[in-house]
């Protein structure tokens, strides 16, 4: 067994053939992850007791001849913004350094029910705010493909562990690209499902109308298996959707003949030329598979960054109000009065990017600015969603780049927050519309840096997204 390149189907075969037990696999995975982690800082914490207990349960079921679940024995990492009962959940923030949640997120409960083995919690940008994983209070994550570069963000740790081989799959969260962009930077698959497809219960809130939980994996098939295991209605999240969840995996037949695939012209403005060449080559490849490539337009793309950063900061400023030193965060020792306690706890606890977003969000919601910023952004959001609705009357799927450029060097963009925001241009439109999107590797630049192809489909049509990604991935193998 080569622990660093295992897939879910290989694990199922290995367990069935008794090549190893789930406990042996979990122990090896933990040992390997602990040994390799210092290179990337991708894990913040390991959870060996919980991992081995889950693995023992899998072994016992298998010994009794029972089904052990679609993720039986699969070693998984969880982004540290998703709560895990009894295991620290820090959101990569000093404020929550000591926080041990009293409950599990629904996604966690469902994955463990399918036999998943949680190895530990993955590093990320503080409260999932960032595009490079340099905003973690516990140090940046390095890209396993090129250690002097960022893994992307905000789910940088979750992407890095899968690329590095220190977990087989992982969970991230995506608000404006935080799964797809790190997946593209690290050369793996990352999926943002339809908004409401996966319960947000237990996902620490950043921007509630935009937050999604989604999987990272080394191939499309594995990502579909993980999504299937955690998707579906949850009565603990009123925004989770009742739509039935298809068996994606069973539908991956490699046949995409006749599929109409849109190429939005707005997604090639400002795109790095090497990345652009790879995206166009991918479109050519889809044509060879029998897809019809159609030029389309998503005219409101130009205003999407402004729209997104008004809405997400507004929602963040409200959601982050709860970190006030009363209930679960560290309290500032300099707090004579209640007001001092709130202000100083937050001032001393939040990092720079969180403060910037709280300030921007407070500003755009404040008296005299609400209509020109927040309300206008919500209207522009409706137009962005309408762009997609129109496009999907002509095409079955849309493809394009994930990021304007491949992984950049640590420190390269930290001085200019606006430039960092602008790098989210191709991912935030799908997030604002709430449609399913994923990143699948489509080649490397001349420097050997991975580039991801983004595939977007209409609400609840993850099936078409997975089928197209899977057929494309297989044709490149």
């Amino acid at each position: 067994m080569k622990i660093s390149s295992l897939t879910i189907s290989q694990i199922q075969a290995g367990l069935a053939a008794k090549e190893y037990s789930a406990v042996e696999l979990a122990q090896q995975a933990l040992d390997f992850a602990a040994a390799e982690n210092p290179k990337t800082n991708a894990y913040l914490r390991f959870s060996p007791e919980r991992a081995l207990a889950a693995a023992r349960a899998v072994d016992e079921k298998l010994a009794r001849g029972e089904a052990a679940g679609s993720l039986a024995g699969v070693p998984i990492a969880v982004k540290d913004v998703i709560v895990t009962q009894g295991i620290h959940t820090t959101c990569a923030s000093k404020l929550l350094e000591e926080y041990i949640p009293p409950y599990d997120a629904t996604a966690i409960t469902r994955l463990e029910r399918e036999g998943a083995v949680i190895l530990g919690k993955a590093n990320c940008d503080e409260f999932a705010m960032g595009s490079s994983n340099e905003n973690s209070a516990f140090g940046p994550v390095r890209n396993p493909v090129a250690l002097d570069r960022v893994p992307g963000g905000s789910s940088g740790g979750s992407a890095a562990v899968v690329a590095q081989g220190t977990a087989v799959v992982s969970l991230g969260s995506d608000t404006g690209g935080s799964i797809r962009q790190p997946a593209s930077f690290c050369g793996i698959v990352g999926v943002t499902p339809t908004y409401g497809r996966v319960s947000r219960y237990g996902l620490v809130a950043f921007a509630s109308s935009l937050d999604h939980i989604g999987p990272f994996a080394r191939n499309v098939e594995d990502s579909a298996t993980v999504l299937k295991a955690m998707a579906g209605h949850d009565d603990c999240d009123a925004t989770s959707a009742a739509a039935p969840v298809p068996d994606y995996h069973a539908l991956l037949d490699g046949n995409v003949k006749g599929m109409r695939v849109g190429l939005p012209k707005e997604y090639f403005a400002g795109l790095d030329s090497e990345s652009g060449t790879l995206i166009l080559q991918a479109a050519e490849q889809l044509k060879k598979l029998g897809c019809e490539i159609v030029d389309i337009s998503l005219p409101t793309t130009e205003q999407a960054i402004a729209c997104y950063y008004v809405i997400c900061t507004a929602e963040a400023s409200s959601n982050l109000a709860r970190y006030d030193g009363v209930r679960y965060t560290k309290r500032s020792p300099n707090s004579g009065t209640l007001s001092d306690m709130y202000c100083n706890t937050r001032g001393e606890g939040f990092g720079r990017e969180c403060k910037r977003r709280i300030m921007l969000g407070t500003y755009v919601l404040s008296h005299g600015y609400y209509e020109s910023y927040y309300l206008q952004a919500q209207k522009v959001r409706a137009l962005i969603a309408r762009d997609f609705t129109r496009a999907f009357t002509e095409v079955d799927a849309i493809v394009g780049p994930v990021s304007p450029f491949p992984a950049f060097k640590l420190g390269e963009k930290t001085a200019d927050p606006l430039q960092m925001y602008l790098s989210d241009i191709y991912t935030i439109t799908g997030s604002l519309a709430g449609i399913p999107c994923l990143s699948v590797p489509c080649g490397n630049t001349s420097e050997g840096l991975p580039v991801g192809l983004q595939i977007l489909t209409k609400h609840f049509d993850e099936t078409t997204m997975f089928r197209l990604a899977h057929a494309y991935e297989r044709s490149r193998a």
Binding site: E98, I100, P102, Y103, H233, C236, D237, T239, A241, A243, T300, E302, Q303, I305, A306, C307, Y309, S317, A321, D324, V326, R327, Y328, T329, S335, T337, L338, S339, D340, M341, Y342, N344, R346, G347, E348, F350, K355, R356, I358, M359, L360, T362, Y363, V364, S366, S372, Y373, L375, Q376, Q378, K379, V380, R381, A382, L383, A385, L418, G434, H459, F460
Partner: protein, 102 residues
């Protein structure tokens, strides 16, 4: 220029966020740059467009609401709820004095 240092101090007050004297000029600079960029929103004609606050799907209005009954599997005691409070006692959160004696 969209925002002054004075306004930054005012907004920080609204947000209950202490910023140090060193942080104020950098915050004003960054916010100004970003707010100027956000003027792009004004380029779009949104006459007659309904604001989109949430991703909505076709469903009954109460489709995702559960019955309002107690769920023993999700019962939070005050001991659990206050376990992470920096200061707690008797099942309550403790905070610095709010009301001064007259």
């Amino acid at each position: 220029m969209k925002i002054t240092e004075k306004e930054v101090r005012y907004v920080a007050g609204l947000a209950n966020l202490t910023l140090t004297e060193d942080e104020i000029p950098a915050m004003a600079h960054d916010m100004d740059e970003i707010l100027v960029y956000m003027e792009k929103l004004g380029e779009v004609d949104t006459k007659g467009v309904e604001p989109m606050a949430q991703v909505l799907f076709e469903a009954d209005e109460t489709a995702t609401l559960r019955d309002d009954v107690e769920r023993p599997d999700r019962r939070f005691t005050s001991a659990i709820a206050t376990a992470h409070a920096p200061q707690a006692g008797q099942g309550y959160f403790k905070v610095p004095k709010v009301i001064e004696r007259a």
